[in-house]
Symmetry: D3
Subunit: 61 residues, 6 copies
């Protein structure tokens, strides 16, 4: 705890996930005045047809 | 914002998702008195063996 | 199952929730070809200072 | 309702899911003084590269 | 990781939460063949008017 | 989209939320190669007795 869930599109690289997790964990740990070890990050990958923005599927945009 | 997450079974068609996202976004936008552009919908697809209802896996029903 | 989570701002009326739940449950039930009884809706209320859009707190907009 | 979401690593067997759902549903039903039929469990499977602990991807540990 | 989110009604006692967290953590740890220390549980409390079942608010039942 | 949910303890200041949202939104936007405007952040505040770590309530630690 804290637990950070990042719901994003499919397709980001492992290297991008690695950097994102490192940076986001550090910031959130600092914000809550906790050690980075306390932070869990869950990355959810959504295909475009499973995401709606403004009433439209992303895959239709 | 608002963000709507729909956790459902696998297997609904893209067309069903398209209609569902359009209608649900409109209703929730009206309920919060916001434009439809503000609405995000995330559809999560669960295989039956990853869902429990009444203590049983859906795949065992 | 399905389970619908609606993360929205604080402040919508009970009547607005009542109508939203009724309509959204019906649409999602139809989309998944399931009876409305199968649908669970969870409404989460967020104060504006707990929501960020475009890097800003909603309470700062 | 209640709805229990279990975000875990990929790879647990169907049998392990079956037992987990049965036991967890029973305990949570008892805790809320509700029948087990009221309980929904959603199991989310995360690949190791989609999970960060202590600022590192699980796949890098 | 794993992270367990329990979305339930308001009103269960601290003692009931204590027991539920202890038991659920043990079961899920065993299911994933992990130590209990790895388990995080998040309890979400929903007022009845923020929960819809079968298209109705729980507060209207 | 992306949508970031940060489940953390109660008690962080508005200023800490402001900075956290700004930094986290920027990093995640860069990771997904999207503009910061696309990012939504939801901050969930949990009282210690609603959080379990290692089978214990945080409020008991």
């Amino acid at each position: 705890m804290p637990v950070i869930t990042i719901a994003g599109n499919e397709g980001i690289t492992t290297e991008a996930k690695r950097k994102m997790v490192k940076k986001v964990s550090k910031i959130v740990a600092e914000s809550y005045d906790l050690p980075t070890e306390a932070i869990t990050v869950l990355i959810q990958s959504y295909p475009k047809e499973n995401v709606g923005v403004g009433g439209e599927l992303l895959s239709d945009r």
